[in-house]
């Protein structure tokens, strides 16, 4: 009987009802500050990306100079020495076999330019790769999975997924760099948030590292940049840079144990969630859900997206995901759980309380 009723009231209707009941979920989800979807490498807003940008501008200037000179030479030669008419075919031009002086000149000049580039490159590589992280740098351990990101804060005891929260640094005040350890659980992935840092791969059996020191708040967009299988395209990453106090608030909220819903659909969803296979793969901090194969769901509703960025996280997309993840993200490793419509509604209702 109950099943019949919820079947009838399921779908968008029930979800809209829930939205009215849990307005907080949405207030939380938009705390990412300014959205920065245009990941332009020429508008860096963090230390290593700015250092790369400086050398990139120099290289662009040099190559642009070479391009203009050589193209001008090419156009000049092609125009000046074009065949002007049939009379040109009567006599061959003077046969020149080479010239040591000229050839020496256009060997030495490229050597000098190359030498300059070598110096700049070596210096920038050292500065970025050998930068010493201060003792109090925020540590993040990022583990790549097919096709999502597992985010650990080992010093804070926080685990989350697909979105990294970090504090902002001040240019002339307190520096708050984040030291990121990169690992992979399966195949090779690559960490790339263009406005913050260049790429570093996440390689299985290996702990790579990179660092960021952002100078502006907001949500920075990134992608997995190493082809990693079917849903490589939808392995998106966001870095949410916050004022230190906002970051502390986020940390405090993450550490709050989740509330167990006492009544209503959410309470039913709580039972369904723990009675089904969800907990085999997913983890909710402070509960018996300790799965490690899928993304951590602690405070799920504080996140901006679902499915590692395949869609914005709304009750509608959440419900669609719970019903059949393959609809939203074909080929992802979470199977269609074949839940009853009533279970889809209740579990969605429960997940909406994780905030």
């Amino acid at each position: 009987m109950l099943q019949g009723w919820s079947g009838w009231a399921s779908g968008p209707g029930a979800v809209l009802l829930l939205m009215a009941l849990v307005p907080h979920a949405f207030a939380q989800a938009v705390t990412g500050g300014e959205m920065r979807p245009i990941a332009d490498i020429f508008q860096p807003l963090s230390r290593p990306a700015e250092m790369i940008h400086e050398s990139a501008i120099l290289v662009l200037a040099i190559t642009a100079g070479i391009f203009i000179v050589v193209t001008a030479m090419l156009i000049f030669v092609v125009w000046k020495f074009r065949r002007k008419g049939a009379e040109d075919d009567l006599k061959e031009p003077p046969q020149i076999y080479g010239s040591t002086h000229i050839e020496l000149a256009w060997t030495v000049i490229p050597i000098l330019i190359t030498f300059v580039l070598i110096l700049v490159t070596s210096r920038t590589i050292g500065e970025i790769q050998n930068a010493k992280m201060p003792e109090d740098a925020l540590k993040v351990r990022l583990v790549g999975h097919q096709w999502w990101w597992e985010v650990h804060y080992p010093d804070l005891g926080i685990i989350t997924a697909n979105e990294i929260h970090v504090p902002v640094s001040s240019r002339d005040g307190k520096k708050r760099p984040t030291h990121i350890i990169l690992e992979s659980a399966d195949v090779i992935h690559s960490f790339w948030v263009p406005q913050l840092a260049g790429k570093t791969d996440l390689v299985p059996n290996r702990a790579n590292q990179t660092w960021i020191e952002p100078f502006a708040t907001g949500t920075f967009f990134g992608n997995c940049a190493e082809y990693c299988g079917t849903q490589h395209a939808n392995m998106l990453l966001r870095v949410i840079v916050q004022e230190p106090e906002d970051f502390e608030k986020w940390v405090a909220n993450m550490k709050q144990p989740p509330l167990t819903p006492e009544s209503g659909l959410a309470a039913q969803g709580h039972r369904d969630f723990y009675a089904n296979a969800c907990v085999s793969c997913h983890r909710v901090d402070g509960t018996v859900a300790e799965g490690v194969f899928g993304p951590d769901l602690t405070k799920l509703m504080t996140r901006q997206t679902i499915g590692a960025g395949v869609a914005d996280l709304t009750p509608k997309t959440l419900r669609a995901w719970v019903r059949d993840p393959q609809d939203l993200k074909t080929g992802c490793l979470m199977p269609d759980m074949k839940l009853l419509d009533s279970e889809v509604d209740s579990i969605t209702a429960y997940l909406l309380t994780l905030k």
């Binding site: 979807p37 245009i38 332009d40 490498i41 790369i52 050398s55 990139a56 290289v59 662009l60 190559t63 391009f67 050589v70 090419l74 030669v77 074009r82 065949r83 002007k84 061959e92 003077p94 046969q95 020149i96 076999y97 080479g98 010239s99 050839e103 256009w106 490229p110 190359t114 580039l117 070598i118 700049v120 490159t121 590589i125 790769q129 399966d186 195949v187 690559s190 790339w192 263009p194 406005q195 260049g198 790429k199 570093t200 791969d201 059996n205 290996r206 790579n208 967009f221 992608n223 940049a225 190493e226 082809y227 990693c228 299988g229 079917t230 849903q231 490589h232 395209a233 074909t330 080929g331």
Partner: protein, 564 residues
């Protein structure tokens, strides 16, 4: 065969006919299968390369349709991933390499005044191994699902990074088809290269010392050596992968402690020389075409040879510049950044020497020359974006983005494919006895050049805006939409260009003007024989005294050998 005892009246006994007229289909197939003639094999290489080119090009078109607009539903993710894998693998191993070997096969014996390659039957073997390796790769669409009913064509990308190729992540047989096909193709490439080296070193006609060989022959010699050095690491890692997948070895199986990075080293120790294996023949064709249509000898022949050898040599020590983001030490990254930047020096010399060749000449803008001029401009861009990629920190932003896609398409299309078109138009009259039609060729040139730039130039910008390569879809609002749309529109022009190219090949074969022996008034030995050349190439083996034997013949008052 000792050329001195060659009897031009000797006739090879005809193989027993199967009751068929000459020219019938059975007869043609019989000839193609039985032939060991370097010219026929050369044309077969080029012909099958062009067929694979059209197939892989259609895949690229479908890829561009999918990416034309954000969140497009035209292709499923798996289908898309198979297309870019097959497109890349086919373009490198089934289009670039065989067309290059085709040119080498056809031209080397003619240019050095030999009657055939040193090992004609090995030559035929090389062709057929390549051809069947291509069929094997494409057969994966039918065969790979196997009993697992999983997988289809390979979908691991053309450099197939482990552990994506491990049994755990690549079920079914798709990766097995990929690896076996490349292993087989590698055998074909190695035997053909050995054949080319022996031919060039042992069969040159009287007077043709190494320093008098046409630059084309020199560069092909360098390429053949590079193939012999670069292919074995590829074959080795394919064998290791086969052992991993069939025999439970653990070379690349990271779940059992294998190394993911090991594959990358093996692959790029092959893969980077491979880039030069593909582009040096482009240089080779440009070095023949530009002098002839400038009416001047190549500027600085010894330096051109030295620069090519240097490029090949340096190319063996730059492989890890494909791996700057893999987490090497700062010392490692610096080393490979420096070695990569060094390539710019000999490459720059070559570009300057080509311009020097044209300086003071009388440039004739025939089809081959048009393609070579476009090549110079495009290769300049490709070289400069290559310099940007060599700067390791800049590469951390650019690698695996659309910038890289744009860069290597400027190298391989703007560099190699344009010179291949130049070469096809240049030697078409020699091989088929007819002139290619100029108007159709001009349409091909304009449409393809315009389409090429419209497609690939915006991809540089998409890369700057953070668009990674190999994604089957993307969200709107990230600044990528317009560049992808423009890029896809360019494909229409390119496809139209290719259409005119194919029409031209057929039209000119039937209705083209008779070419005569030497339609371009050129100087190397292949123009001294008839068009098309007889199966024995030359009635009498020529003797040369300079780098331009036909110039000496045409200008007895002012021969080259006086100055060399």
């Amino acid at each position: 065969m000792n050329p001195d005892t060659f009897d031009p009246n000797f006739q090879i006994p005809a193989p027993e006919r199967i009751g068929e007229e000459r020219g019938s289909l059975t007869r043609i197939i019989q000839e193609l299968v039985f032939t060991v003639d370097h010219k026929k094999l050369g044309l077969m290489y080029i012909g099958s390369g062009l067929i694979f080119f059209v197939v892989a090009g259609i895949m690229a078109t479908l890829i561009r349709i999918q990416l034309a607009v954000p969140r497009n539903d035209f292709l499923e993710p798996d289908v898309f991933n198979r297309f870019f894998t097959m497109h890349g693998t086919a373009m490198v191993f089934l289009v670039g390499m065989p067309i290059i070997f085709g040119f080498a096969n056809y031209l080397v014996p003619l240019m050095i005044g030999a009657r055939d390659m040193a090992f004609p039957r090995l030559n035929a073997f090389g062709f057929w191994v390549f051809f069947f390796s291509g069929l094997l790769l494409y057969f994966s669409y039918l065969g790979a699902p196997g009993l697992y009913a999983a997988g289809s064509a390979p979908d691991v990308g053309w450099f197939a990074y482990s552990p994506l190729t491990a049994k755990a992540f690549s079920r079914g047989h798709s990766t097995d088809y990929w690896t076996l096909s490349l292993l087989m193709g590698g055998i074909g490439s190695i035997v053909t290269s050995i054949n080319i080296i022996v031919t060039i070193l042992c069969l040159r006609c009287k007077g043709m010392i190494l320093g008098r060989m046409p630059l084309f022959v020199w560069l092909i010699l360098v390429v053949a050596f590079l193939v012999i050095i670069a292919m074995p690491p590829l074959s080795a890692c394919q064998i290791m992968l086969i052992l991993d997948r069939f025999a439970g070895a653990k070379f690349f199986d990271t779940q059992a402690g294998g190394s993911a990075v090991l594959w990358q080293h093996f692959f790029w120790i092959f893969g980077h020389p491979e880039v030069y294996i593909l582009i040096l023949p482009g240089f080779a064709i440009a070095s023949e075409v530009i002098p002839v249509f400038s009416r001047k000898p190549i500027f600085g022949y010894p330096v051109m040879v030295a620069a090519s050898v240097m490029i090949a040599f340096i190319s063996l020590g730059v492989w890890a510049h494909h791996m700057f983001s893999v987490g090497m030490t700062s010392i490692g990254n610096t080393f490979f950044a420096i070695s990569t930047l060094l390539v710019a020096i000999p490459t720059g010399i070559k570009i300057f020497n080509w311009i020097g060749t044209m300086y003071g000449g009388k440039l004739r803008f025939e089809l081959p020359m048009l393609f070579c001029l476009a090549f110079l401009f495009q290769f300049l861009i490709a070289g400069l974006t290559g310099v940007m990629l060599a700067i390791a920190p800049f590469d951390w932003q650019l690698t695996d983005s659309y910038f890289v896609v744009a860069h290597f398409h400027y190298v391989l299309i703007g560099g190699l494919l344009f010179t291949i078109f130049a070469g096809i138009y240049y030697w078409y009259p020699k091989a088929l006895g007819r002139m290619p039609d100029f108007r159709l060729g001009l349409l091909h040139f304009i449409l393809f050049t315009v389409g090429f730039h419209i497609t690939f130039f915006p991809q540089h910008i998409a890369g700057f805006l953070g668009m990674p390569r190999r994604i089957y879809t993307y969200d709107t609002g990230r600044g990528w939409d317009i560049w992808n749309l423009i890029s896809s529109i360019g494909v229409i022009f390119q496809a139209a260009g290719i259409l005119f190219f194919v029409i031209n090949l057929i039209y000119s074969y039937v209705w083209g003007k008779k070419a005569g022996d030497d339609p371009w008034d050129a100087w190397s030995l292949e123009w001294a024989t008839t068009s098309p050349p007889p199966s024995y190439n030359f009635e009498t083996i020529p003797e040369v005294r300079s780098r331009r034997p036909l110039w000496d013949l045409k200008h007895p008052d002012d021969p080259d050998w006086k100055y060399e």
